[in-house]
């Protein structure tokens, strides 16, 4: 089932948490809502779920083209997983998963055996068969996460809404679980929105990324689109490391890349650390001169911190370890830098 939200505005007192947000999620897709803390991701998700309502007259929420704006949460057939799971602490895993079936009206409620069968099927799906009798406090974070997912799926939702599903887990478990979520989604194809403030997570598993900032949508696109063609400086900075340079001298270097900076030589220029090429200074050529200030060589990539000679601006460059040893760089060496790819935005977009 597709999800559409049009012109959603939501104010808490005088503070606008959402400001005319439009989102469109095609049927069966896995979409990431990405944004910094406080950007309104949870609020938007809760409005889609029906746990919160947009300001009167401000916007509509449509499921499969049908207006559900005034429908309460229980009637929308959404599976919602909360930022901190919100499992029922006094119920076992089994009871948690069965809850959504138990509270149905008598004529819609499956039989006792029907419920047990469905719960066990779901626990199998999330790989927790053996833990049906445990209480939430006896589970690890990753296990709780999957119980919350199974509980949400028990009511056969038409859409799945996950609020920072991996937020409270350590880096390793996060990685495992997000790949698991992708595979899981490929199996059951339920329209899913998941909230995250981790750009790596969003870019890795989502079909589409919605980037939010201060209650507005900054950009919507596939991971590759938003990464390669960020629409705003905010998106550029949010999706990975970036050098923000303000230097007329760089216009020279930029003219070669053909990114239009020559029309806007005083503007800010955005360059990713891995889009900068280093060459030895004595080799000549047209790059800008810079001095090596620091080399950080732990990890798969080496990070080199440079100071550009004319403008004295600092530039961070990422190169492979082998490139680093080929160049034989040391601190205080002189090098040339060339920009492979860079962006400039209209000045009034700058943050």
């Amino acid at each position: 089932m597709s999800i559409e939200a049009h012109g959603i505005t939501k104010a808490f007192g005088a503070f606008a948490a959402l400001n005319g947000v439009d989102v469109n999620v095609p049927k069966g897709k896995l979409v990431a809502l990405l944004g910094p803390s406080g950007s309104g991701k949870t609020t938007l998700l809760r409005i889609i779920a029906g746990l919160e309502f947009p300001d009167p007259g401000s916007g509509r929420v449509l499921f499969h083209g049908e207006d559900v704006t005034d429908l309460p949460a229980g009637k929308r057939r959404v599976g919602f997983v909360f930022q901190h799971y919100a499992l029922f602490r006094h119920m076992t895993v089994f009871e948690n998963v069965a809850f959504g079936l138990r509270v149905r009206r008598h004529r819609d409620r499956p039989s006792r055996e029907g419920i047990a069968e469905r719960v066990h099927h779901l626990l199998q799906l999330v790989q927790l068969e053996g833990l049906a009798g445990r209480y939430p406090s006896q589970l690890s974070g990753g296990q709780r996460q999957r119980v919350a997912l199974a509980r949400a799926l028990a009511v056969e939702p038409k859409v799945l809404l996950l609020d920072e599903p991996f937020g409270a887990l350590d880096a390793r478990v996060r990685k495992d679980l997000r790949r698991w979520l992708r595979r899981f989604h490929d199996e059951i194809h339920i329209t899913t929105i998941f909230v995250t403030h981790d750009q790596e997570e969003a870019l890795e598993i989502a079909d589409q990324v919605v980037i939010m900032n201060q209650g507005r949508v900054e950009q919507v696109g596939t991971p590759q689109e938003v990464y390669d063609r960020p629409a705003t400086p905010f998106v550029y900075q949010f999706l990975g490391n970036v050098n923000v340079l303000r230097a007329p001298a760089l216009a020279v270097a930029l003219a070669q890349t053909g990114h239009g900076a020559e029309q806007n030589p005083d503007g800010l220029i955005y360059v990713r650390p891995h889009d900068i090429e280093l060459t030895p200074h004595d080799a000549g050529g047209d790059g800008l001169s810079a001095v090596v200030r620091h080399i950080h060589a732990a990890g798969p990539q080496a990070r080199v911190l440079l100071e550009q000679i004319q403008s004295r601006e600092h530039v961070e460059v990422e190169i492979s370890r082998s490139e680093l040893s080929d160049l034989g760089l040391k601190v205080n060496d002189l090098v040339r830098i060339r920009l492979r790819m860079a962006h400039s935005f209209e000045e009034d977009y700058a943050i």
Partner: protein, 261 residues
């Protein structure tokens, strides 16, 4: 270490010693006299009245306390801070003043007094007044116990229940109530203890009619003023026993909740 010793000494002197004195005094003239003091008609009437008051006040305050705590902890609305302050009012007001206010409102010379007399309804110097005064004084106990607990638990579980299709009633019975059951139980115990022991407010509205409007604490006072010290302590020992039971239950609950948390 020294501090602990001082605290223990203080406790022994101000709490354990007087409590022991109550029981020693109560049995000064032997078990027979104790039973006689506790079973004489006026004493029995006082016990009955106290139990009746408790049977009305405690359930009423449970309903009110749960409703108020639920509203304050789980929703935001205008006037919330006023409601929170009002709940604390009985803690801030001297019970005697609370009693006097009821006399002022419902007494013979009070605002509704003439109307009540004309319709043959007695509130002051009768059971309804005692119930009202006790209800006022014990008003905060359940709510105060539940509000911090419910606030700490937040609304996420309720939201989950609603998103899973539960209606308000199901959410309350299946999710909220089980999560607060121990806090609620303890609130009830405290409310009960205070309702049985309340003296000031009840004293003002009761009129001290022996065998009719005397509750246990009032009966103790009457006996004491009659220089019937041993009988007074015999009835008082029943109240002291209640206090001990309350403490024991509290400890048991704390054990339990720590064990399961």
């Amino acid at each position: 270490m020294l501090l602990t010793a001082v605290a223990l000494l203080f406790l022994a002197f101000f709490l354990v010693l007087p409590l022991a004195a109550v029981f020693i005094q109560a049995f000064e003239k032997g078990a027979g006299y104790f039973l006689k003091s506790v079973l004489e008609p006026d004493a029995l009437s006082a016990i009955r009245l106290t139990l009746l008051t408790v049977a009305i006040v405690v359930p009423a305050n449970v309903v009110f306390g749960v409703a108020a705590a639920w509203a304050i902890a789980k929703f935001s609305f205008r006037g919330k801070s006023i409601l929170t302050t009002l709940i604390d009012l009985p803690f801030a007001v001297s019970p005697v003043i609370a009693g006097l206010v009821y006399v002022l409102v419902f007494g013979a010379q009070g605002w509704f007094g003439p109307w009540l007399i004309a319709h043959n309804v007695r509130i002051i110097f009768a059971v309804p007044g005692i119930v009202l005064a006790t209800a006022f004084v014990t008003f905060p106990f359940v709510a105060r116990e539940l509000i911090p607990l419910m606030q700490a638990q937040g609304t996420d579980e309720e939201c989950s229940a609603v998103a899973l299709g539960a209606n308000g009633w199901q959410t309350f019975w299946r999710v909220t109530l089980p999560n607060i059951r121990w806090g609620l139980f303890y609130g009830v115990i405290l409310c009960n203890a205070r309702a049985m022991g309340e003296f000031g407010a009840v004293s003002v509205v009761s009129g001290h009619i022996r065998g009719e409007t005397n509750t246990m604490p009032l009966h103790v006072e009457v006996l004491y003023n009659d220089y019937n010290i041993v009988a007074a302590f015999a009835v008082a020992s029943l109240l002291a026993l209640l206090a001990l039971a309350t403490l024991a239950i509290r400890t048991a609950i704390e054990w339990r909740t720590e064990g399961s948390a």
